[in-house]
Subunit: 345 residues, 2 copies
């Protein structure tokens, strides 16, 4: 319909010159360039992406794979929506577009990613919710596709990643609780193999050691990463013979169920048991007593993610000279009343 050919013959100019004019090549008269640009605007001409991709071997699209069903972690609230916003802000500076690729619950994530990648429909990839051992990382490394992972992983490689500072979060949680006299501090963590649990637990154990507190494996409670998991956690905690005085959470929705479970047992968070939550979510703001948790600027995280990815893509590496990024993103403590209690008075 509205191809470069029609545009060219309307202008009585060869198709090659039109292309050069539109793409800002130097070897075209400035006046004809102006003519072309004006005609293109009026014509409503937008290059056919398939033709362009085929020729250049590049699609100007960056894929962001997510698990649509509400998969392993993170995708509650508008976590991802905020991140998308930041990523696209970066990409749009370079006429790149973000396409989000939701892997359905019916399909194997690695197979899905494989398909998306070998089809050459994106130039680079962002993956998230990394697992302890993540097949997707091996796959992307092998396929030589530029990518960045939102989240560390046990499966190493030279690939860039950006992750939240779960180790730091764990450390601050323990410091804060120990300062208030707590010695038996439980941790409620997702039972799946998402990597952030491992990172968090590393920080947890390091902090205990620093304070000279022996690590008790029984204090690590594995639950489903959902509100129900939090409810289960309440039950598990209350069933322990030596009940912990505090609990830290490794998934944002756990606080909901935990509050519910404690309330049902007639206990109130922050008085009968200290709680420090995870990421501040829409719900966290609402809980009563208010939940101590950690805040992230999602948009800024997305911007950093986008820039770090571009730094790993050859055409943009000189614009973003940070090299292969392995960065830990800070989280800001939001003090609440859920860990107000002091032990030992």
């Amino acid at each position: 319909m509205k191809g470069i050919k029609q545009l060219a013959e309307q202008l009585n100019i060869s198709i090659g010159t039109v292309s050069r004019a539109l793409n800002g090549r130097p070897d075209v008269n400035e006046e004809t360039r102006k003519r072309v640009l004006e005609a293109a605007a009026e014509f409503g001409y937008v290059p056919n992406q398939s033709g362009r991709s085929l020729r250049q071997g590049t699609t100007n699209a960056i894929g962001f794979m997510i698990e649509s069903g509400g998969g392993i972690a993170g995708n509650s609230d508008n976590f991802f929506f905020g991140v998308f916003d930041g990523v696209q802000n970066v990409l749009s500076r370079h006429h790149l577009d973000l396409v989000v690729l939701p892997c359905s619950t019916d399909e194997d994530p690695a197979a899905y990613l494989q398909r998306m990648v070998t089809r050459r429909t994106v130039d680079a990839m962002i993956i998230s919710a990394t697992h302890r051992r993540d097949e997707r990382i091996e796959l992307l490394n092998k396929a030589q596709i530029p990518f960045i992972a939102l989240g560390r992983s046990g499966t190493q490689g030279p690939h860039p990643w950006l992750d939240l500072d779960f180790e730091g979060v764990a450390n601050r949680c323990i410091d804060r609780l120990v300062a208030k006299g707590h010695r038996r501090i439980a941790v409620g963590a997702p039972s799946n193999d998402i990597n952030l649990s491992f990172v968090y637990l590393d920080g947890y154990m390091a902090a205990l050691k620093r304070h000279g507190i022996a690590f008790d494996p029984k204090l690590v409670l594995r639950v489903a990463s959902s509100e129900q998991g939090g409810y289960q956690l309440a039950h598990d905690l209350l069933a322990m013979e030596e009940r912990p005085t505090a609990v830290v959470l490794v998934y944002e929705l756990l606080a909901l169920g935990l509050y519910r479970g404690l309330n049902e047992a007639g206990l109130v968070p922050g008085r009968d048991m200290a709680i420090i939550g995870f990421r501040e979510s829409l719900v966290a703001k609402f809980l009563s007593p208010s939940l101590t948790c950690f805040r992230i600027s999602l948009r800024d995280l997305g911007i950093a993610l986008g820039e770090s990815l571009l730094a790993a893509m050859p055409p943009y590496a000189d614009i973003y000279p940070q090299g292969i990024v392995h960065r830990v993103w800070p989280m800001e403590l939001v003090p609440g009343e859920s860990d107000a209690m002091v032990i030992g008075d």
Copy 2:
């Protein structure tokens, strides 16, 4: 690298035959087809999407535009994630893929959509969060791109849409409240021009009329579509000279702020003021007293959305013969305690 050409010469077969074999054409010997398929699998061959699109004029991708910044509505919890899952379930039956296109907060939605569409990177579009007057619909109609809207709109046209039954919801809310003796029923609705507010209010007014209750415009309170909006709503309600005995909500997060505001004023929902919420969200399950609200099966909604879109796409219209779908999707009442009070005893 791994094109059909390499595959062909490895098999000593012409490139045309390989293509026909892979695409299931009838005019190829079954034995050679088997050879080709096996070699392709071993070879790891996946067709280059750009080449294929260019030739066929079709991309095998369906776009789903969202507003990434946490835009106008719906995208709290994993509303969209659930819908994506259902849509992709349908699409995968036909080797189509869903690509989610997040419009950043920095860009004009209509311009973004225009760009995505004229670039021919998707075969069809799904748009959501439709406004009263929605430029995107005019644009898509003009561009002759198959699309479906998740949400009705004032800007009409022959395009298919699927919407939630907000009119029915409003009716059931009023019926339920009137049956318990309420006569002054306020409604808290988003102040922006998202279309669902208008639909809801139509139902609200129709129901009042049905019960012989005069409509009082002062009872329609416009607030921001956020938790803060709900908090504001509490203030507005309590500031009214003739305080309503009940309030119905047109956005899921409003309940959160409303509870908070009432609690701060020493009032308890369901005793001092009846509340019926909107969509059941993760938070709704947690509120206390429990919130009366409405449940949707997000995945089923997504499936219906996908099927209705395919019905509007020429190649699939005979498989999904429902024609141009204008369908209203039911929402299931989830009774809670937030509207338990009875007036007039």
